[in-house]
Symmetry: C2
């Protein structure tokens, strides 16, 4: 309920801002139906992150949602991301994260807007994924506490028109201060990141 | 809270039964810390299912839990499971789901008991995974509403000592009846499945 109140409040005070639920969901279709209903109908989120492992068939309940955004995990921001994501395909020679980007861009028949998640901590992979997915949106975590470079992430991730990137920071904004001024500290950090992103774009 | 009450009740009336939370979680380490605390410390679950996509490094908060079980998604039960799970590795020629089984069995240094999830709807893949993971437990969904064959699943999934398989059914048990006798219907279906599994083992 706290999450719903938070999202309701964001929609009320900033209706132009999309709310992206970084929930990393991914189950069989029957269960994804309920996740999609919870995220979009109950919570009122505008987009959600999902795991690709079960394939497009299982993700159908998300992909058919007109007006919603689906961000598919492609290259995650964590240090050990390469264990499976870097496995090269015998058929094409491309690593798994690129196969996922290609399938989403070329084969997934999505009514929702379908983008990818690529961590700022992997700037070279960001260039690769942008070259595969055209103008599709890319959600880029990792510029805050995880230490990814913001400028490089924007430069490497932006589309040919200079857009298509959503950079998110959680802990560095949420925990800017442990004292009573936490709200001001969060605002300061968010504004700083916003200005830095706009400068590079 | 309903989920916690349900789990508390199961532990109370059937303390010998492990409660496996089929939550399919998988995030960066920092977030997995909170998921592990929620599943094991708050809910009191004995095991949880997780996504392999971020690798062992991210799953560490689950893997370090002594006395708990971690079931890693390997071959999922849905019709479109092969989209990425069947991609063959350039290095070894093995499909992704087998690479995951190999890594979990040979490379993941887990304090928790670490098993795999393989759908009953893929009996040949079940043989492959069992041959890779030795005596590790395999969680096998798909014998209920999804139509996987129970006998074949037990035969193909069991370890050399005839154990190591957990077969789960959800909808066929939960929704055995839409009327006031739903509890009896659930018991009847669960008993039927239990007897059928014991007969094959």
């Amino acid at each position: 309920l706290d999450l719903k109140h938070t999202i309701d409040y964001i929609h009320q005070v900033a209706p132009e801002l999309p709310v992206i639920l970084d929930a990393k969901r991914g189950d069989i279709g029957n269960t994804n139906e309920a996740y999609a209903a919870y995220a979009f109908d109950y919570l009122g989120a505008d987009a959600i992150t999902v795991h690709p492992y079960l394939g497009a068939e299982a993700l159908e309940p998300f992909l058919v949602r007109q007006g919603k955004g689906i961000f598919v995990l492609c290259r995650t921001s964590n240090p050990g991301a390469g264990e499976f994501q870097d496995i090269n395909s015998l058929e094409t020679g491309a690593p798994l994260f690129e196969v996922i980007a290609s399938n989403v861009a070329d084969k997934w028949d999505s009514i929702a807007t379908c983008g990818l998640v690529v961590g700022a901590t992997y700037p070279d992979e960001l260039i690769r994924v942008r070259s595969i997915v055209g103008n599709r949106p890319i959600l880029i975590p990792g510029i805050g506490s995880q230490g990814g470079d913001l400028e490089t992430a924007v430069r490497n991730g932006r589309s040919s028109s200079g857009g298509g990137v959503f950079l998110n920071a959680a802990r560095s904004v949420l925990f800017g201060s442990a004292n009573a001024d936490f709200a001001d500290a969060a605002r300061t950090e968010a504004s700083r990141l916003d200005a830095a992103i706009r400068k590079v774009r």
